[in-house]
């Protein structure tokens, strides 16, 4: 039986100067390089496939399979682009990982590039996390100086350059094709697919784009084996992962557990919902995943379990809201976010998110009526599945799911002539046990 918590990626976050090469090497860091260099590239890909590792950025696509799509012997340069643009509301796992142990990511980058036969990798990190950018720059510098990067790495004949690239503030750049346009020095707007990045990605060359946590999971798979990784988790969702608990919980933070754990278990460990209050709603994987309620406390937090409950595992960003929180206010704020972050490329998203805000704001102010609720759902229906990328699908998720579970609260707003909640009661600095 696997333990309830299984710190692997986070196991050394409290080590003295954990971000340094010296500290990372002392715990076995970079030993996986020679393991990989002794294997063929295809065997490395097979090993990652066998481990069952799936993308930790939200979509859950099998990582090894993605690597396998890169055409071989095509004479073109191949690229790895690490998506370190962590911006999905509620998501806060990659930033602490890169802050504490950036070398885990760098080692994963080297192993991945070896497997997909890429000689240049980019770490696209959002610009709004300055110290993370510093730690990444420093880690890459140290790796060069130690001979883990550059030419003929460890005498293997394999060459690799890594460039740390800071973004400039655009949620949409977390979408992989928008990220590529941004990395090419353009506005971050999604591309039409096909062609997929594996065929025509960065500079129209075959490109793998992976989330930070996915790439950082690779070294330990090489080190401990595919079976070891697959011994954790559930049938189709293998391995350990970082769950991020935030909001109205006694002790918010990062909890690394096998996939398939439950919110009930994690909440118990974190001291439960804020004292004197009850769980009202939560997101399983950021604001783009439909909200869930207390009836979903025992849903297995893996790709299949959360899907069966009508939501998505997403980034495992568990945002907890207690009974003091107005769901209409929460959803309006998320909707304003999507409106602000819509890239403007396609009409349903650009215009649709604007209208969603208008309608929701009216409801939140208590000036709406029953038919506004119907109009809101109709707007959602006209956006979902009709936009260019997944941003707008994410935008309607909190709206439709909140109406599904809390329709009466919307009605209360217009019957009450305004919001029936006191926003002060929801704050961290509210007196304990403040009335809802």
């Amino acid at each position: 039986m696997v333990d309830t918590l299984t710190p692997v990626l986070s196991a050394h976050w409290d080590t003295d100067r954990a971000w340094t090469l010296e500290s990372y090497t002392a715990t076995g860091g970079y030993a996986a390089l020679d393991t990989a260099f002794a294997m063929s590239q295809d065997d490395v890909i097979s090993m990652v496939k066998d481990s069952g590792l799936r993308g930790r950025g939200g979509a859950g696509f099998p990582t090894g399979m993605k690597w396998g799509f890169i055409p071989q012997g095509d004479g073109k340069p191949h690229y790895l682009v690490v998506n370190a643009d962590e911006s999905e509301p509620g998501t806060c796992k990659d930033v602490p990982l890169m802050m504490a142990t950036p070398h885990t990511l760098v080692e994963g980058v080297i192993l991945t590039c070896y497997a997909i036969r890429a000689n240049h990798a980019f770490i696209y990190v959002r610009g709004e996390v300055l110290h993370v950018v510093r730690r990444l720059q420093r880690a890459v510098q140290e790796a060069y100086l130690a001979g883990h990067l550059g030419t003929d790495i460890h005498g293997s004949g394999f060459d690799l350059e890594v460039t740390v690239h800071a973004g400039a503030g655009a949620y949409i750049c977390g979408e992989e094709t928008a990220l590529l346009d941004s990395l090419e020095g353009r506005r971050g707007q999604p591309r039409l697919r096909p062609p997929f990045p594996a065929v025509a990605g960065l500079y129209a060359a075959p490109t793998v784009i992976n989330n930070v946590e996915s790439i950082a999971s690779v070294p330990v798979i090489l080190r401990n084996g595919a079976d070891w990784f697959a011994s954790m988790g559930t049938e189709k969702s293998k391995g350990m992962t970082l769950y991020s608990l935030s909001g109205h919980v006694a002790r918010p933070g990062q909890l690394e557990a096998p996939l398939g754990t439950t919110l009930r278990r994690l909440l118990d460990l974190a001291g439960g919902v804020r004292a004197g209050h009850e769980l009202k709603f939560w997101t399983p994987g950021g604001s783009s995943t439909p909200i869930l309620t207390a009836e979903h406390l025992d849903v297995p937090l893996d790709y299949e379990g959360v899907g069966a409950a009508g939501s998505m595992l997403g980034t495992k960003a568990l945002q907890i809201f207690d009974d003091t929180t107005c769901v209409v206010r929460a959803v309006l704020r998320w909707t304003e976010f999507y409106k602000h972050e819509s890239c403007g490329k396609c009409t349903p998203c650009r215009e649709g998110t604007w209208w969603l805000v208008q309608t929701l704001a009216r409801l939140e102010r208590g000036r709406g009526e029953e038919r506004d609720l119907e109009m809101l759902l109709d707007q959602c229906d006209n956006i979902l599945g009709r936009s260019f990328c997944a941003l707008a699908d994410g935008a309607v998720s909190p709206i439709t799911s909140s109406i599904q579970y809390f329709r009466q609260e919307y009605v209360d707003h217009f019957e009450h002539g305004g919001c029936p909640f006191d926003p002060a009661a929801s704050t961290l600095f509210a007196p304990v046990g403040a009335p809802a």
């Binding site: 930033v95 353009r186 129209a204 060359a205 990062q254 909890l255 959803v331």
Partner: protein
Amino acid sequence: MTVSTGSTDEAGPLDEQTLAELRQVMARYPQARSALLPMLHLLQSVEGRVTARGIEACADLLGISAAEVSGVATFYTMYKRRPVGAYHVGVCTNTLCAVMGGDAIFERLKEHLGVGNDETTPDDGTGETITLEHVECNAACDYAPVVMVNWEFMDNQTPESATRLVDDLRAGREVRSTRGPRVCTWREAERVLAGFPDDRADEGPAAGPASLLGLEIARAHGWSAPPAEHDSGAEGRTGDEGGAAGRTGLDAQTAMGRAPSEGAVVESGAETVGEDAGGQQNPKGGS
């Protein structure tokens, strides 16, 4: 109040050092246009905002139109067309932080500083000005409510702590991120984002308390990941100290692999230029 299209500071071309550094950024990439985002960060560090002449300079260097550069500069929220203060204070008002107190913090700071969103406090002669802005989720939700100063984390804020924070900044007192380094100026931060390190990477802890929650609980319960069996493809190699011990040559090398300063990252980056520079003449590259 400075006129946003003011001319005196924009007269004439950029200085030679800035132009040389812009070219240095371009040389990092297989195709030069990829450098545009860090180039704009660098220009902000020099000029305090994206200026008309900065846009022209990027266009000239990259061989694209000023309209294309402008289109990029106006797309990303970190690029500012109006002068930014010495300190950019960003209050997260996305849902979770807003509910946890971000809205109250933002209201208090607007009142305390006497400015609205995306506005800058007047300079009292010290130059310690503050630009206040509400920002979107900054990936620190387990530390909500979060305030960013020049994109450094100030965790678990209250209206009172945030007020003290901006007062300290305006008084020129040293401010440290709650899990990071001494706060630098906004312009200095922009230079780091352009890829010119400032030697502060070693400041601050590895992780804040919330990041270590699971690790602490696991230790208290004696929980850990299953032991490695070293059977599938790893060929008996271990990832622990024992496995690494046989590789003294490499260990000796890595033990010395730490440069006294981060400036060396630019040098090691420069080694990559030779291979990539050809891409600049070949905008389609990849063939």
